[in-house]
């Protein structure tokens, strides 16, 4: 008994000490999937606090990587712009890709860029980690960066008014529920009545009667059959009558709609930079990622590497931007017009471990990122780069 109490106490202590589960598994997705499929950038949330019935927007862009891993993830010929949130805590009012409303799934082109916008409306108070997400048929969900958003207010005040093509304005939150419940109550009452009719007297004893060869009339009397016919007639009348009455009440209906929406990608800007990755390494002991690049500047302006974005993490050059994660460029001087230069991009950051990006335990171990070069006027050139295997350095 004491042993039991002691064990229960220890288990209870352990349960109390467990930390709050802060994320919803995005780090568990393989690093190559997060890097080499949908490359999200310029993602912004209009607010981190929204009231019930208030709107917020997530917007940004994504690039579909040229070397999409079609050996493991199907190409995005059927894709759906979604929001990763814990259920309908906010509702989706609208989604757009390149200003085209996304009501159906879409076919997207590898190697191209798209602009997206998701408009949400607060519904259920709470704190939620919300990401833009692209579901790809044959690939699954590919989430973008996430941000905590708090929904405040009274959930009972939530409404979702919609005006139909028949001129009715309804609240989609509760529309039709009364009718559903009524129909179920009627059919359940009829069914229950039928069952209780037969259970009005003890019934297990019938087992012996049947085995003993009792007559049909003794087991199912004429009265039972008349009641049965009555219930049959009532059921058929209910279904047929209910159907035609409903047809009269709702003369205008459409079947479920399906289809595909064609979306042209954003125009490709002229390519004025050539960037080749020569080597990518990761020093395990110091958590240092090093990318060796050969950059050829065919532009009229000098350019400097300002940002590297990989797996939804933004590494920023402190010479140009402030950010949580920094990168170092050697040599740090801009690449001049017409110049070919070898750059070393060095990132020493625990995020490689905390975000499970080291790839050492994955069979597919290839790095990819979006590199953003900026000229002195702040204009940006975005290049998607791919490295071969990320070489770990243990010594």
């Amino acid at each position: 008994m004491k042993q039991f109490i002691r064990s229960a106490f220890i288990i209870g202590l352990l349960a109390l000490s467990s930390s709050y589960a802060d994320a919803h598994g995005e780090k568990s997705q393989e690093p190559f999937l997060r890097m080499r499929t949908v490359m999200w950038y310029d993602v912004q949330w209009s607010t981190d606090k929204v009231g019930v019935n208030e709107e917020m927007t997530i917007s940004g862009k994504f690039h579909l990587f040229e070397e999409w891993p079609t050996n493991v993830v199907a190409a995005p010929t059927s894709a759906w712009l979604n929001a990763s949130v814990a259920g309908p805590q906010l509702i989706r009012l609208a989604t757009y890709i390149n200003d085209v409303p996304m009501l159906n799934s879409v076919s997207l082109e590898i190697g191209r860029d798209y602009e997206f916008k998701i408009i949400l409306k607060g519904r259920n108070p709470g704190r939620y980690h919300i990401h833009p997400m692209l579901n790809v048929k044959g690939g699954g969900p590919i989430a973008g960066p996430g941000q905590w958003v708090t929904v405040e207010g009274d959930p009972d005040t939530f409404t979702n008014p919609i005006t139909t093509l028949t001129g009715q304005t309804i609240d989609l939150e509760t529309y039709g529920l009364g009718r559903v419940i009524s129909w179920h109550v009627i059919t359940i009452a009829l069914a229950l009545g039928w069952i209780l009719f037969w259970m009005r007297s003890p019934f297990l004893g019938r087992l012996l009667l049947v085995q003993g060869g009792a007559s049909e009339e003794e087991l199912v009397s004429k009265r039972d059959r008349i009641v049965g016919l009555g219930v049959l007639a009532a059921t058929l009348a209910l279904v047929i009558g209910g159907y035609f009455l409903t047809e009269a009440q709702y003369p205008v209906t459409v079947p479920l709609q399906s289809g595909r929406t064609p979306i042209p990608p954003l125009e490709k800007p002229p390519q004025t930079l050539n960037v080749n990755v020569e080597r990518a390494t990761y020093a395990v002991a110091t958590r240092t990622f090093t990318l060796t690049l050969k950059v050829t500047n065919k532009d009229q302006q000098p350019v400097q590497l300002g940002e590297m974005s990989a797996a939804n993490i933004r590494f920023l050059n402190p010479q140009l931007f402030k950010g949580d994660h920094q990168l170092l460029v050697e040599p740090s001087e801009p690449v001049q017009p017409g110049e070919t230069k070898t750059l070393k991009v060095i990132v020493s950051d625990a995020v490689w471990e905390t975000e499970h990006l080291t790839m050492s335990s994955d069979p597919e171990n290839r790095f990819a990122a979006l590199l953003m070069f900026f000229d002195p006027q702040g204009s940006r050139r975005i290049i998607a780069v791919s490295a071969g295997t990320l070489i770990p350095q243990y010594l």
Binding site: G87, Q168, T187, V210, Q211, G228, L256
Partner: protein
Amino acid sequence: MAQVSQAARLERTFDWIVIFIAVCLFIGAFHLHVMLFVGDWDFWTDWKDRRWWVTVTPIALITFPAAVQTFLWEKLRLPFGATFCVLLLVIGEWLTRTFHFYGWTNFPLNFTWPATMLPSALVLDIILMQTGSVILTAIGGSLLWAAMFYPGNWPMLAPFRVPVEYLGSVMSLSDLQGYQYIRTSTPEYLRIIERGTLRTFGQDVTPVSAAFSGFVCVWIYLWWWAMARAFYTTRFVRSV
């Protein structure tokens, strides 16, 4: 007299014990079976189409009713096997939709309400009672079972098929529910619904689906009837 009265009370008590066990068993087992085989088609209004939902649901649902009918009719001459199974299923489904879909994950109940096959179940039971014939019940009963599914649910479904213009497209209110109430694991392309390829019969998808479903139900009914006969036994009763 006192002994007879006591025996009757005992018999009745035993009845209730058996009923309680049967209720728990079938709410669990049949409901699980339906969740696995029908699943999304019953969970959401935007999966209740004219083709797959109409075809799959009657086929998946005739199984347990056929087996329970076998036992209850052949052993007890009680014609409520199908009704019993489907009633418990509906109760189980409402419990799940209310406490899990609505209470836990906040999906509105008007998006996740369950379909009903109670009218079909009543008809199946009464045909068996009136004819006393397995073959007539399998053929006539199963065909009616499938045929009554769509009209038996249309009073609930019709309001959700009212069209709306949304973001420049025509949608039904069900489509709009599916669009607005976010499901992260159910992207639009995943919906197994009528995509407009059943062109041979023009617009009348539902009767074709129901007819095919009915045809398959006949065989499923006979199969589960045979399985129940193979497995039920009351040999032990004689020795009690």
